[in-house]
């Protein structure tokens, strides 16, 4: 076991730690997740039935409606928001607005892809201000 550290672009402040939820495909907050529970409901999603609450989500990019930021803030009102979001591609303003309001730390564009690197479920630490990602493995 050693600590792996990767630099990324810090987007939304916050220093958090949580189990990784690694998704290989673009994620849509509108439609892919239940607004009340945080459970992934998209048919064919690799983590269908799992919850995003408290997780460090790793996915390539956000897709879908601009209503996505409303979903994120609604989840936060119920305490079902993810701990952090790691986007592999650049972020759009809509999700950043949602993450700021929901208090979800967010980074993007890590120096290399993490999707095949971070094991799903591994404990990942994210610093949204410094733009760092660290995990044991």
């Amino acid at each position: 076991m050693s600590t792996h550290t990767v630099r990324a672009r810090g987007l939304v402040r916050g220093t958090v730690e949580g189990p990784a939820l690694v998704c290989a495909k673009a994620f849509s907050f509108l439609g892919d997740v239940d607004m009340d529970t945080g459970e992934i409901i998209a048919h064919g999603h690799e983590h269908r039935g799992e919850s995003i609450a408290g997780k460090v989500m790793v996915y390539p990019e956000t897709k879908g409606s601009s209503g996505g930021c409303v979903v994120l803030t609604t989840l936060a009102k119920r305490g079902r928001q993810p701990a952090a979001i790691i986007l592999e591609k650049p972020a759009d303003t809509n999700m950043v607005e949602g993450a700021i309001l929901a208090g979800v730390a967010m980074v993007c564009q890590p120096e290399h892809s993490l999707i095949d690197v971070v094991p799903n479920g591994a404990t990942v630490a994210v610093d949204g201000t410094a733009g760092t990602i660290a995990w044991q493995g």
Partner: protein
């Protein structure tokens, strides 16, 4: 990020906690996108919190309780019901009652009750170069492109921009980001762009190619205001286009070279008659001659001229809307007041149409998900005819019906006959455009 003395004072809480928090959010947004400073805004078009979204009205009601007030002229976008005539078209009372409380909150905050997707048609015409913030994709693209004002795609932070009058200098507020990226050369005959819906088809075709970048349309014949509203709404539907240039008709470019800020286009495309026909065919999944039960005009909200052209068409033949057809024409209240005064509303409604304000079919209780959430019976709509690609794109998913896009005159014939009729016949009588 560099803050002025005034901004730092806001952030430090010298204007109260609400303003400090709002400015903090905007600074965080700016930092995420590496903005160097905030800029002063002159206008905001605000997302009218809708009672069909869980928690949305409750949220603004609570925010208004803090005493927060907008600092710049702020108009409001569409709601989930017609505030005055909600009971006349089957709007469930809980949707109306909750919506009314949000309207009270908006008034308390100083937000103007325009409740329309087209504030630019109500006299909110920011000058070229003005920094503003707007929600509603069809208004955003019109402000940026036709008027040359500068706005990003506003979201939840429009509230914080409106109460502080500030926004980070990012995105489309920066001249270099307003450069054209894709060239579209129009190989079209005047006939191909005869109706507002043809401009809607053009926008829908181009938006699907260009995605979120900046198209430049070369060879657009002199358009009307209505044509440009239709074009922009469709560009922002199939793509997430925020700005387009159509030299010399749009604000920032008299020539194609100017639109590209002298750089080379990333991609060049030609647009031909077949592309527009293809757009109509692709979006339509009702067959010719098939029965229809809903006709919607007014996406984006119709102007007084467009309303008059509908009234004139109906009056001329003493036409009556078919008994199986629900026929809505959506507009804003200021325009409806003028239409009432001119006898236009009376003419449309005597024929069986309904002039509806503040909302539209996909924003109101006609949405399937809304009905389910409120435990209401889902309105049965099987097939809708509209003159707008934007409306057609959203009704399939949100209302759950099939759709066809046709020019206004063909929509009117569908309303009267209860059937989807031929796209064009020798006998068809065009409606006057109504636009300026």
């Amino acid at each position: 990020m560099h803050l002025t003395v005034e901004e730092q004072a806001m952030l430090d809480g010298r204007h109260g906690e609400v303003i400090a928090r709002a400015l903090d959010y905007l600074v965080q947004l700016g930092e995420a996108f590496e903005a160097e400073q905030l800029v002063d805004l002159s206008y905001a078009h605000y997302p009218a919190e809708m009672s069909i979204y869980h928690g949305s009205c409750e949220d603004v009601i609570a925010y208004a309780e803090t005493g927060a007030k907008v600092r710049i002229p702020t108009t409001s976008s569409t709601l989930a019901c017609d505030l005055e005539r909600w009971s006349e078209y089957g709007c469930p009372q809980p949707i109306h009652d909750l919506q009314t409380k949000a309207v009270d909150a908006h008034r308390k905050m100083g937000i103007l009750g325009t409740y329309t997707c087209t504030p630019q048609l109500l006299g909110f015409v920011p000058p070229k170069g003005a920094n503003i913030i707007s929600v509603e994709s069809s208004a955003i693209i019109y402000f940026n492109s036709v008027l040359g004002a500068r706005t990003n795609r506003g979201g939840l932070f429009t509230r914080y921009a409106a109460v502080t009058g500030k926004y980070p200098l990012t995105g489309y507020l920066i001249t270099a980001n307003r450069r054209g990226t894709h060239l579209f050369t129009l190989d079209l005959e005047p006939d191909d762009l005869a109706h507002d819906s043809d401009y809607s088809a053009l926008g829908f075709h181009i938006g699907a190619i260009v995605g979120s970048e900046v198209p430049v349309l070369d060879g657009l014949p002199m358009p009307t205001q209505d044509n440009l509203v239709a074009l922009g709404a469709a560009l922002a539907t199939s793509g997430s286009v925020t700005l387009f240039h159509a030299p010399p008709h749009t604000a920032e470019a008299n020539s194609v070279a100017e639109a590209f800020q002298e750089a080379a286009p990333k991609e060049a495309h030609r647009v031909r008659r077949g592309d527009l026909r293809g757009a109509y065919e692709k979006i339509t999944n009702i067959s010719e001659g098939e029965a229809i039960d809903f006709v919607t005009l007014g996406c984006p909200h119709y102007t007084l001229g467009q309303l008059r052209s509908v009234a004139d068409w109906l009056r001329e033949d003493d036409a009556k809307v078919h008994e199986n057809v629900r026929f809505w024409i959506c507009t804003n209240r200021m325009t409806k007041r003028a239409a009432d005064f001119d006898g236009i509303t009376a003419a449309i409604e005597a024929a069986g149409g309904f002039v509806i304000c503040d909302t539209c079919p996909v924003e109101c209780h006609m949405r399937q998900s809304t009905c389910k959430e409120f435990g209401l019976p889902v309105p049965q709509v099987k097939a809708m005819v509209t003159d707008s690609f934007k409306m057609a794109r959203y009704v399939g998913d949100l209302i759950g019906c099939r759709t066809a896009v046709r020019p206004r005159e063909a929509c009117l014939r569908a309303a009267v006959t209860g059937k989807l009729v031929q796209r064009k016949t020798a006998k068809s009588r065009a409606t006057p455009s109504g636009g300026v």
